[in-house]
C-alpha cells in the first residue's frame, strides 16, 4: 500500500513520465531521427516494434506514435506497416480515421498483404456504419487472402460458400475452407466444421470427428463449443455417456469463457 502511494505521487512528475515512456517508442523515435534507417533495412523497426507502435497509436490514441507509424508507412511503403497503421486508425472509430484507415489497408492489400485483404474483406462482409456491406467485394478480398492460406479469410470463405452470400452456395467447398482454417487453429472454423460432421452436412457424418473438433475449439475458449459439450454430457450425445458432473463442469466453463471468448477471426 505504501509503495503504491509513492507510485501515485510520482506519476504526476513529468520527469518520471518521460522515464517511463515506452522503450519501443523511444527506439522508434530514435530511428526517425537517425535518417539512415530508410536506406538500410537493418534500421527498420521489426514487426513487434511496429505492432507496439500500432497499439499506442490505435487503442492508446497516441498522436506521437501515430506520426511515427505514418512516417514509417510512407517512407518504407511496406505492406505490413501500411496495414498496421490502417488497423490502428480503424480502432479509433471516427469517420475520418476510418476513411484513412481503409486507404492504408487498400495500399497494403494491393501489395498482396493477406492480413490487409482479410481486414477489408471482413469490413465489406459485415458492413459498418462507415462502409456498406458488399458481398462480391468481400469475397474477392477473402479469396485473395485465402489463396495465401490465411486462416481468417478461409473461415469467411467457408461462411460465404456455406450460405451462398454473394456466391453460389457450395457446402462441400465451405467445409474444405473451414478445414483449412481449423488446421490453422481457428476456433470458429472448428465449430462450423464440427457442426457439418455432426450433421453429415456435405461431409460424411462423423460424430467422433465432430466431438474432437468441438473439444479443440473448447480448448480455445469458444463458448458455443464448450456449451455443445455441456449439452452433450447432459443429454448423452456425440457418443458421450451421460455425465452430470461433466455437464456441470462444462456449463460453468461456458459461463467463464463468455467473459473472454475466442475472438471471431
Amino acid at each position: 500500500m505504501i509503495a503504491m502511494a509513492v507510485t501515485r505521487t510520482l506519476r504526476t512528475r513529468p520527469g518520471v513520465q518521460k522515464a517511463l515512456a515506452s522503450a519501443a517508442l523511444a527506439a522508434a523515435l530514435a530511428g526517425v531521427g537517425g535518417a539512415a534507417w530508410n536506406n538500410h533495412a537493418a534500421h527498420m523497426p521489426d514487426a513487434a516494434t511496429i505492432a507496439v507502435l500500432a497499439q499506442q497509436a490505435g487503442p492508446g490514441r497516441d498522436a506521437k506514435a501515430e506520426q511515427v507509424l505514418r512516417q514509417f508507412a510512407e517512407s518504407s511503403k511496406r505492406a505490413s506497416v501500411q496495414r498496421e497503421l490502417g488497423e490502428a486508425l480503424l480502432t479509433r472509430n471516427t469517420p475520418r480515421d476510418f476513411a484513412e484507415g481503409i486507404v492504408w489497408l487498400e495500399k497494403a492489400a494491393e501489395q498482396g498483404d493477406a492480413d490487409a485483404s482479410m481486414a477489408l474483406g471482413k469490413l465489406r462482409f459485415l458492413g459498418t456504419p462507415f462502409l456498406a456491406q458488399d458481398y462480391p467485394r468481400a469475397y474477392r478480398y477473402f479469396a485473395a487472402a485465402g489463396a495465401q492460406g490465411h486462416a481468417g479469410a478461409a473461415y469467411y470463405l467457408g461462411l460465404m460458400l456455406r450460405s451462398g452470400y454473394g456466391v453460389r452456395e457450395n457446402r462441400a467447398a465451405a467445409a474444405r475452407w473451414f478445414a483449412l482454417a481449423a488446421e490453422k487453429n481457428s476456433a470458429a472454423a472448428m465449430f462450423m466444421l464440427a457442426n457439418a460432421y455432426r450433421e453429415g452436412d456435405s461431409v460424411p457424418r462423423d460424430e467422433a470427428r465432430a466431438r474432437e473438433l468441438y473439444e479443440e475449439a473448447a480448448e480455445l475458449e469458444l463458448p458455443e463449443a464448450i456449451q455443445t459439450l455441456a449439452m452433450a454430457y447432459r443429454n448423452g450425445e456425440l457418443g458421450l455417456a451421460q455425465d452430470e458432473m461433466q455437464a456441470r463442469h462444462f456449463t460453468q466453463e461456458t459461463a467463464h469463457a463468455l467473459k473472454h471468448p475466442a475472438l471471431t477471426p
Binding site: A51, Q56, H260
Partner: protein, 687 residues
C-alpha cells in the same frame, strides 16, 4: 496467522502496521530522492535456504465451497480449502511467498452481489480480498476478469487511484479499502497518462530462515521482484469499459524493459505473475498467451501462470499448450524456467520450491533441486481436505447476504410454469423468456440502432429441460413467489443475449430446422407412432407471441413442415426483415441452423439471458398465465390419424396440460416402463 518468514510475524496484515513492514520497493519509489538503502548485511558464503513460491489462480471469488445456484455445499472447490493447503505448505517449508495470479474478484453470485446488487462501500474490503488478507498474501497479479465490472470498481476495490479518463484526477481521489498486499500489472497503460495503470512491479524484501555452510541457523535478507501481466485481449473482451481509456503494451517488451530495472534495484529473484497460458505461435504484442516468450526473457527465475483453468506441471496433460517444444510438462519448466499453473477456483495450490545458496555476492538458485508441483484439495481417497475455519468466519455476513439475495422473491406467478408439455404447445415456461428477450432487444435497438428502428423485434427460445434425464428433467416453477434461483430453472444455460437481423426466408428455415424435433407421422398407420425424434429439445426454438403464427405439419418430411407463417395476420414475405432475439449459441451457429453463423448478429450483449429474465420479472412483478404464459404462436396442422401418436413426459402431469389449454393431450399409460418417472401420453392431431 502463519509465520511466513522466520521472525517476520503476522503484523503486516493490519493497514496501520503496514508502514512498519513497508519494505516493498516499487519502481517509482526508487526513482525518488530517498537516501540509498543501507548496505545489506553481509551473508556468509555458502548460506543456504529453501524458498517455496505458493500460487493460487483463477479463484473467481469462490471463497467458500458453496454453489450459490444450487444453494448447497460443494467441497470440490473453494478458497477455504486451498487455505488449508497454504497452511500445510507453510508448516512444511521454512520460507514461503504466497502469490495470486488474478481472476480473483469475479465469478460467483457473491462477487456479483458485492459489485452490482449491493455495491460495497469505499471503506469495505471485498470479501475475497478480506480472506486473502487473512491468509497473508505477499503479492498478486491482475487477471482479465478483474476488468469485468469496469475501471471505477476495480479502482475502488484494489484501493488504487487510477489516472484514467472517467475517474477524477488522482489528487482528488481517496483510496478505498483494498488488499493488504501489493498488486502488480505491467502491460496495461492509461491512455491519459501513458503510464501503467497499476504499479508494474514491486520488490519484496524478506528475511529468510537459512543455514550457514557449517549448519548454523541464521536469518538472511532476500529481495524478490514480482511483475504482473494480463492478456492484452482485455481490450476486446471488456471493450465497453476500456475503449479509449486504457491500452496494452507488449508483454515481452514490458518484461524486457522492467526486469533489468528490477535487477538493478537489487532483486535477487524475479518472479513473473502472468495471467495467461502458453502459445508458441509467432510472437505478437497483442497475443493472448505470451508466456512462452516471457520465459525466454533474460532474468526470469520463475513463472506463475493461469487463465486456462489447467494444471501444470501435469505429465498426462494432452492440452496443446503443455505439449510444445521446450515445455517440460513432467517437471514443470518452460524453456528451462520453473512454471506452475494451479487450476482454478481454489482446487489446487501451485508450489515452486527453490533451493537457494549464497555465493558471497548473491543468492543463486540450484536449478537441479527446483521442484514444481500442484497440490489438490482432493485427497487420494477422493475426500477433500478440511476447510480452514477462519475463512468462513471472516465472510459469514457476505455469504448470508448473498444467499438471502438469491432466495429473495423478485416477483410472483399465478400459474405453475413448466416445460412438461412444451413439445406439444405448452408455452408457460418459454413465453416469459421470449418476452424478456424481445423487451431487452427492442429497447437496445431503439436506443442504439436507429437504422433498424422500423423492424419488428421477435424472440425465440427453446425448452432446455425437456425430459432427457427422465420425469424430473423439466422446468417446474411453482405458483407463488419467484426467486433468483428459479431463473436458473427457467433458463438453464449461461448464455448471453444476442439479436440477429434475418429475412422471412431465414425465419422459415429456422423454424423448419426446429421442427426436426418431430418424427414424420403417417396418418394411415394404425399402430403407435412416437412424435418426438432424437433432435434435442434445446434446439426446438419457438416463437410465443400473438404477433407471429405458424403451423407445424408433422405428416410432412423435414424441411416442408412450416405452414401459414404470418406476422400480424399477413403472410411473411421472404425478403421481409426482422430482428430476432436469441442467444450467443444459436446466433453463432449452434445447432447448425441455416444462415445462422454469426454474420447476422446485430447485438452481442454482455448480459446473460438469465439476468435479462430476472430483470424482466422484477419489472412486471406479477407474472400471469393470461399475460405471460398463453400466447401460442404455433399449432400442429390438424390431421386425423388412424393410430395413436404418442410422446413421453413426466408421470401424472395431465392436469398441467389441461390447465395450459391443451385439449388434445390424453394419458395413455401411467407408467412408461423405464423407471424414469415417465408416463406415455397421446396427442390427438385431429383437434
Amino acid at each position: 496467522m502463519q509465520n511466513r518468514f522466520g521472525f517476520l510475524t503476522g503484523g503486516c496484515l493490519s493497514i496501520f502496521l503496514l508502514a512498519a513492514c513497508g519494505n516493498d520497493t516499487s519502481p517509482a519509489a526508487l526513482t525518488q530522492a530517498t537516501p540509498a538503502p543501507a548496505p545489506a548485511p553481509s551473508i556468509e558464503k555458502g548460506t543456504a535456504a529453501t524458498l517455496a513460491l505458493l500460487e493460487t489462480t483463477d479463484l473467481h471469488t469462490n471463497v467458500l465451497s458453496y454453489d450459490y445456484f444450487k444453494l448447497a455445499e460443494d467441497k470440490s472447490f473453494g478458497f477455504e480449502r486451498v487455505a488449508t493447503l497454504i497452511k500445510n505448505a507453510r508448516a512444511e517449508f521454512p520460507n514461503t511467498l504466497l502469490l495470486d495470479n488474478g481472476d480473483t474478484i469475479q465469478g460467483t453470485a457473491l462477487a456479483d452481489y458485492q459489485a452490482q446488487v449491493a455495491p460495497i462501500a469505499c471503506g469495505t474490503t471485498l470479501a475475497m480480498y478480506k480472506v486473502m488478507n487473512t491468509m497473508g498474501y505477499d503479492g498478486g497479479g491482475i487477471g482479465n476478469h478483474e476488468f469485468n465490472y469496469g475501471l471505477p470498481y476495480l479502482n475502488q476495490v484494489t484501493g488504487n487511484k487510477f489516472n484514467v479518463e472517467g475517474l477524477p484526477d488522482p489528487a482528488k481521489q481517496t483510496a478505498c479499502a483494498g488488499p493488504a498486499f501489493p498488486q502488480v500489472l505491467a502491460n496495461v497503460l492509461s491512455v491519459k497518462s501513458k503510464e501503467p495503470l497499476f504499479q508494474p512491479y514491486t520488490i519484496l524484501t524478506r528475511e529468510l530462515k537459512a543455514k550457514t555452510a557449517d549448519g548454523k541457523e541464521v536469518t538472511a535478507p532476500i529481495k524478490v521482484g514480482i511483475i504482473g501481466f494480463t492478456p492484452p485481449t482485455i481490450l476486446s473482451w471488456d471493450k465497453r469499459w476500456l475503449d479509449g481509456k486504457v491500452y496494452t503494451a507488449g508483454i515481452k517488451e514490458q518484461a524486457e524493459k522492467y526486469i533489468p530495472e528490477m535487477r538493478a534495484k537489487g532483486a535477487d529473484l524475479v518472479v513473473v505473475i502472468s495471467h495467461g497460458g502458453l502459445d508458441n505461435s509467432a510472437y505478437s504484442p497483442t497475443m493472448e498467451n505470451a508466456n512462452y516468450y516471457v520465459s525466454q526473457v533474460a532474468g526470469v527465475d520463475a513463472m506463475l501462470i493461469g487463465h486456462s483453468h489447467q494444471i501444470f506441471p501435469n505429465a498426462t496433460s494432452t492440452v496443446p499448450q503443455f505439449n510444445l517444444p521446450g515445455v517440460d510438462k513432467v517437471n514443470g519448466t518452460v524453456n528451462g524456467v520453473p512454471t506452475v499453473m494451479a487450476n482454478y477456483w481454489g482446487k489446487h495450490l501451485g508450489v515452486i520450491k527453490l533451493e537457494l545458496a549464497h555465493d558471497g555476492k548473491a543468492w543463486v538458485v540450484d536449478k537441479a533441486k527446483t521442484k514444481v508441483e500442484t497440490r489438490s484439495i482432493q485427497n487420494a481417497d477422493k475426500t477433500y481436505v478440511a476447510a480452514e475455519p477462519s475463512i468462513a468466519a471472516a465472510v459469514a455476513a457476505e455469504h448470508q447476504a448473498t444467499i438471502d439475495y438469491v432466495k429473495t422473491p423478485i416477483g410472483s406467478t399465478d400459474f405453475q410454469m413448466t416445460s412438461y408439455f412444451a413439445d406439444v404447445g405448452e408455452v408457460g415456461a418459454i413465453e416469459l423468456v421470449n418476452q424478456a428477450q424481445a423487451d431487452y432487444v427492442a429497447k437496445y435497438v431503439k436506443a442504439n440502432l436507429p437504422a433498424y428502428a422500423t423492424l419488428p423485434v421477435l424472440s425465440v427460445s427453446a425448452p432446455f429441460k425437456s425430459g432427457f434425464g427422465g420425469g424430473n428433467d423439466y422446468t417446474d416453477v411453482a405458483q407463488g413467489n419467484v426467486a433468483i434461483n428459479n431463473a436458473a430453472d427457467l433458463y438453464l444455460y449461461p448464455n448471453t443475449i444476442y439479436a440477429v437481423k434475418v429475412s422471412g426466408d431465414n425465419i422459415k428455415a429456422w423454424l423448419e430446422t426446429a421442427a426436426k424435433r418431430f418424427n414424420q407421422i403417417d396418418p394411415a398407420k394404425t399402430t403407435e407412432q412416437a412424435l418426438i425424434s432424437s433432435f434435442p429439445g434445446y434446439n426446438f426454438d419457438m416463437f410465443t407471441s400473438a404477433d407471429i403464427s405458424y403451423e407445424i405439419d408433422v405428416t410432412q418430411p423435414v424441411g416442408s413442415r412450416i405452414k401459414n407463417l404470418s406476422y400480424k395476420g399477413a403472410a411473411i414475405v421472404g425478403t421481409q426483415e426482422f430482428i430476432v432475439a436469441t442467444n450467443n449459441y444459436r446466433a453463432s451457429g449452434g445447432g447448425n441452423f441455416p444462415g445462422l453463423d454469426g454474420s447476422k448478429t446485430i447485438l452481442a450483449a454482455p448480459d446473460a439471458n438469465r439476468d435479462v429474465l430476472i430483470a424482466y420479472i422484477k419489472s412486471v412483478k406479477a407474472v400471469t398465465r393470461a399475460a405471460n404464459g398463453s400466447d401460442r404462436s404455433w399449432k400442429f396442422t390438424k390431421v386425423p390419424t388412424a393410430g395413436p401418436v404418442i410422446f413421453n413426459s413426466s408421470a401424472g402431469k395431465l392436469a398441467i396440460a389441461t390447465a395450459a389449454g391443451l385439449t388434445n393431450v390424453s394419458l395413455l399409460r401411467a407408467d412408461e416402463g423405464s423407471g424414469k418417472n415417465l408416463s406415455v401420453y397421446a396427442l390427438d392431431l385431429s383437434k
